[in-house]
Symmetry: C3
Subunit: 314 residues, 3 copies
């Protein structure tokens, strides 16, 4: 083989690997689009330079695990080994502290890719996708492990609490503008209106329908959580919104390939349901001080995608 | 088409829908029999007029979800989309309070039907039935959500407790007569001897063997819980009995279609096992103040029905 | 049939049943070898005479459940119905107290065999083995039930604790020699250097490679738990080691039948991962005062065996 030919082949490999990595970032939002991935990366980087690097490295690591492990090329190229790693890398970097926390975050990213593979296999027969369950599990396990291993140092934001001492206090004004843009930011643990706008752009780039769904999901969640009497501080910080955005995209777009009769309605219901689900999961995790992460989205989406197999009109 | 023909067709539809709804009520006891469903409805109504209405509406909603969703007709007509909705409607009406609690209960009933569909799909390959797991999950989630959302107001009966502060106190006399009839009533959250007698009649109407199994299951549970030293107040209120009744009907009758060698014995063991399972689950749920509901029945029945696939003599 | 013929036939049956029972004991270490089973039984008996009897009886009961239930002969002869029963019998004998605790332990052993059958069926399609999950579940359930049923009396070693009051204290010297031999002993809840040596011999008898893996797993776990800052008292008592030994044998040997490219490396990773998993599970169980048992091994092994199906190079 000629040298230039070999260089070109290697360049081709590198480019397709980079595209898979960027798609891994976009798959966090259930979108397979390298440009979307790039804009998301930009949004994260404007919020924090180091977080941007972690996001890229994590997507990279997840994809590498797929390649070395010998996964089928289609899954790798769709970015399916990347998105759980991206979220795990970001979460552990933010949740842990100490000099080596980013190493633990990157090991966690590799582990998330491994668990993605395991769950892909276990759930294959059901035809229901893995979603972000591997990221949630790895992150929860790492936080729990920190109580027993000195090398895992937790930031002070996680406070285990007794449910018997819990008092709900929903007082406080809602800043609806913040709520509108922080919801989408919370998917990537970032805040601020600029990041939010960039993330909405990233979704619209992949398709105007997807963008509208994202807006709709956020509005639905803001209204549902306000009407059901959720804590106002959580609502305006977007903590009731990010799960709804993901759920409506998943149910009405990504996994609605055969255009069911009630496809959009199912997605809106799924988005609404993430609100009480978020409340339930937060209560359940209270004694451990764990965050709900994207678990409400996962449960609501699994519920609808599974039900569709038996109720084909949904 | 002639007008009368069309009317007859619509009448036929309505009748078959009503029968499916009543069968949905009877399926709570793993029985497919509209008359049994009607007598159960009567038993609930004698205990509380409004609960009777909720039970009927919930069965109705569950069946409607199946019809609109486009489920296969056989499942709908067997009442398989109704029974989880009935239980969820009843439980949430009783457990929640406030002016809109019955709306939440009926939404919960719809959700239970949806989750039934999801679980039917996921468990299809195992050949193990869904049982009342969807009802349990929806009810637990709703109770947990109430700690975070003001619209969900819990009655005062649920008290989260630390296991480290727990003291077992089994003192108190057992009223065996109450124990004999409250066990079957607890399946539908109702108490009293009249309701209990009506429920036993409902089962006997479906078959004398089923009736005997129900009696046997209750006796087995009363004895087991007494011998193992369960709390007497729980025993005589039937709280150790209702799971055993369901388990023996499920294992020895409903899902014992091929008449295994140890069919009855398996059912009796399954009924016994619901007692320690009820104790375990109650301990596990203590920090959240959640009720065990029919989870002991579900676990014990899954255990035996699954084991039968590998141990064909059971 | 002649009398001697019949006697020979019965003798043959008895011998093959005894071999199945001994293999049931060896399967705790994922090894199918009657001699290994015998040496393990010896190791348990040198630690405690009565525990030895319980181990033998439990293996016996588990195998009997398989035979009476009508399981396929191959599974029975491989000892697959015995190992969960052995562990359950040992654990419940040690964890419970009172005059009848050994009866509960033996009933638990039978139940573990039943649950093994259930899980074999449920997991059949995934091609992932049941491992010791049935033992873990039955033991946890029994401990939890003891808080509600007077017949189940718990020893004082289980103390439910609030995570909010938890303080990590890793101080204390590590006795590396004890750590080297107690790790393997903890698999069977026994301590002491003699028992440890006998258990290592039992593994080496089944194959020198298996023996080396066991040693390697133990070393890996000791180093990982020390480097990650685990509690020193746990480390030298072998409580971070036993899961690693099982995980490396499972991933690199027992279930590595087709000699994957990274077979040994996967096993070493799986062994490392049992350390943070043990920490996470211990935190999660803290409010219930439950022991982690072999859950870290089960999760780590499931993770790798499942991932291998999608990542064939592992």
């Amino acid at each position: 083989m000629q040298n230039t030919n070999h260089t070109r082949w290697a360049e081709g490999k590198l480019v397709s690997f980079l595209i898979a990595t960027l798609k891994g970032i976009s798959q966090v939002m259930l979108i397979e689009n390298a440009v979307t991935g790039l804009i998301i990366l930009l949004a994260i980087t404007t919020f924090s330079y180091s977080l941007g690097i972690i996001a890229l490295l994590s997507a990279f690591i997840g994809t590498i695990v797929g390649v070395i492990g010998g996964a089928n090329k289609e899954s790798i190229n769709q970015g399916l080994f990347g998105y759980n790693s991206v979220l795990t890398g970001l979460a552990l970097t933010l949740f842990l502290t100490g000099p080596y926390h980013w190493i633990i975050a990157l090991v966690g990213a590799a582990l998330a890719a491994l668990l993605t593979a395991t769950m892909m296999h276990v759930m294959k027969n059901t035809g229901i996708p893995v979603l972000t369950f591997p990221f949630i599990t790895v992150t929860w396990f790492t936080i729990l492990a920190s109580y027993r291993l000195e090398a895992f140092r937790l930031t002070s934001r996680f406070v285990p609490q007794d449910l018997s001492n819990w008092q709900l206090d929903i007082a406080g004004k809602i800043n609806w503008l913040e709520g509108a843009f922080d919801g989408i930011g919370q998917i990537f643990f970032i805040e601020g209106i600029l990041s939010g706008i960039l993330l909405f752009i990233a979704v619209f780039v992949a398709g105007w329908k997807l963008g509208l769904y994202a807006v709709l999901g956020n509005v639905v969640a803001l209204l549902t959580s306000y009407l059901l009497g959720g804590e106002h501080t959580l609502i305006y910080r977007g903590l009731y919104g990010y799960n709804a955005i993901l759920a409506i995209i998943a149910v009405s777009a990504t996994f609605n390939t055969d255009h069911r009769r009630f496809g959009l309605l199912s997605g809106i219901f799924a988005a609404c349901l993430t609100v009480p689900f978020a409340a339930s999961i937060a209560t359940w995790l209270l004694p451990y001080g764990l965050p709900a992460l994207t678990m409400p989205f996962v449960l609501s989406t699994w519920l609808f995608l599974g039900a569709k197999k038996v109720l084909p009109n949904l």
